[in-house]
Amino acid sequence: MSRIAAREVIGRYGTAIAGLALILFFLIFAPNFASATNIINVLKDTSFLAILALGFALAFTVAELDLSVAEIASLAAVVCGWLVHSQYPPALAVAGALGVGVVFGSLNGFGVTVLRIPSLIMTLGTAAIAKGCAFMITQGVAFVGRWPVGFTGLARGYSFGIPNLVLWMITATLFAWGLVKWTRTGAHMVATGEADEAARLAGIATARIKRIGLLLAGIFAGLMAALLAANLSSAAPNMAGDYLLYAIAAVLLGMTMFEPGKPNVPGTVFAALVLKVLGNGLVLLGAAYYIQDIVLGVIIIGSVAFSASAMKTAAFKV
């Protein structure tokens, strides 16, 4: 293998291979990591993160940062929880969660493309609004209760011997991958994110495409929220807030794999798995809880540095 080819392989798969090595390491050395229960738990945890991160990645594909995904998810979970708590049918509760995603995703798209507010600012604003709304609806307390299995089963049940959560993750992954790689809309999203002026001059309605990216980020947040509420049989106003940094880390770490420097679907999902394995493994090895945050920060910075060096230029501009 020539040196250039070797570099290409390391650039494409280097961090993915490191991720695999990390998983192997914990499988061998972390006590109880390899137990069936633990592995299923890690996969379930990964599902929430992967679905939220996929939404972030789709917005990032059109070169917009959506910092509101986690707070949208919190609000969507609360709305969903309130609907279940008020004994509306589960389908309506899920529709409610997705509806919150649609409303906030559209709002972000409107702000970014019509009001021309940079997405960084627009989504910080909508994140604060969503957070406030979530506290307003709950008055600061969580909805907890004996919720119908028809709802909680969405996350806790099994189909064909596989946890439903994992099936949701696979569905979301296939949807996002199919969209980006195989549809015209996806091709337009990629072109818009890569070079929006070139895309516009090539006749692509770039503003509409950006709105689609931000809308999808909202919808994925809504789906993740419904599953989160179903899994916990509760909905609290701050329940998804902590997922933001993890989602960003998953997308950025994912950008170091498979298609270096580009937000991509397989990278995002695999990175979500690696992050959750790392968190779980560290706990099992007895590391203090705050170590996770430090590791997360290092991964965020390191990923972007890696992408930048792989491309010999800044990985992206925001």
């Binding site: 199919g178 790689k181 195989w182 549809t183 015209r184 996806g186 091709a187 337009h188 990629v190 072109a191 890569e194 070079a195 002026e197 070139a198 895309a199 516009r200 001059l201 090539a202 006749g203 692509i204 309605a205 420097g261 580009k262």
Partner: protein, 254 residues
């Protein structure tokens, strides 16, 4: 060029950016199969005029017609639909995307998958067609999945021109196609433009390079201070003559 109806006709075109008037009362007829060079110093209004023809910006005065029928270009898409494609100096391509992705940007091919309403990208066909366009232009590139950033400047121009061919554009506007290219690359691009002409396409060329203009154009249009003040066949004009005309125009404008 026996047809006397111009392919593209501009009448009284003006473009103002607030109080700044970039283009004033320009009348211009372009006939099928011509190569027309638009020259002028920086700030002469060339780029603004081109943006109007390409649909990137709407004129603030005047009208455009094609084959005698009035048209309005509200967006680059409208212009493309009317067969007017523009190749911008730096903005035309997405560097990290593949050749095929760039050639088919905005006009991707699809094929049905299982269900009639479910259409997916036809990547194989796009790769094959891109290959066909590029070999039509005799550009020596074989791997259509290669990122455009890995190509030379001349090859990039070939990719950009392939996109115009993909749109089946009758009029291809080229903004400084040889700027920032080496000698060999420039020769390649000049050849590309000759091939377009031989193919019966109409080319509007914006260039600072008088030698390119003399080598390629049938007609030269010179602008200064937003107005058109020379519009004549190249005939036996030399590169120096055109440079003189530009300077004379500047003097008049000042």
């Amino acid at each position: 060029m026996t047809d006397t109806t111009p392919l593209l006709s501009l009448r009284g075109i003006g473009k103002a950016y607030g109080p700044v008037v970039a283009v004033r009362e320009v009348d211009l007829d372009i006939f099928a199969g011509e190569v027309v060079a638009i020259c002028g110093d920086n700030g002469a209004g060339k780029s603004s005029l081109i943006k109007v023809i390409s649909g990137a910006e709407e004129p603030t005065a005047g009208s455009i017609s094609m084959r005698g029928k009035p048209v309005a270009f509200g967006s680059p898409h409208d212009a493309l639909e009317h067969g007017v494609a523009t190749i911008y100096q730096d903005l035309a391509l997405a560097p990290r995307l593949s050749i095929a992705q760039n050639v088919f940007m905005g006009s991707e091919l699809t094929r049905p998958l299982l269900l009639p309403f479910l259409r997916v990208l036809d990547k194989k066909k796009m790769i094959a067609e891109s290959q066909r366009y590029l070999s039509q232009l005799s550009a020596a590139v074989t791997d259509m999945t290669r990122a455009v950033e890995r190509l030379s400047g001349g090859q990039r121009q070939a990719v950009a021109i392939s996109r115009a061919l993909r749109w089946n554009a009758e009029i291809i506007i080229m903004d400084e196609p040889t700027a920032a290219l080496g000698v060999k690359e420039t020769a390649l691009v000049l050849d590309l433009i000759r091939k377009l002409k031989a193919d019966g396409r109409t080319v509007i060329l914006i260039s600072h390079n008088m030698r390119d203009v003399v080598a390629l154009a049938d007609r030269v249009v010179i602008m200064g201070a937003g107005r058109k003040y020379v519009d004549r066949p190249i005939g036996d004009l030399s590169a120096d003559d055109i440079a003189h005309l530009i300077m004379a125009g500047n003097a008049k404008a000042a």
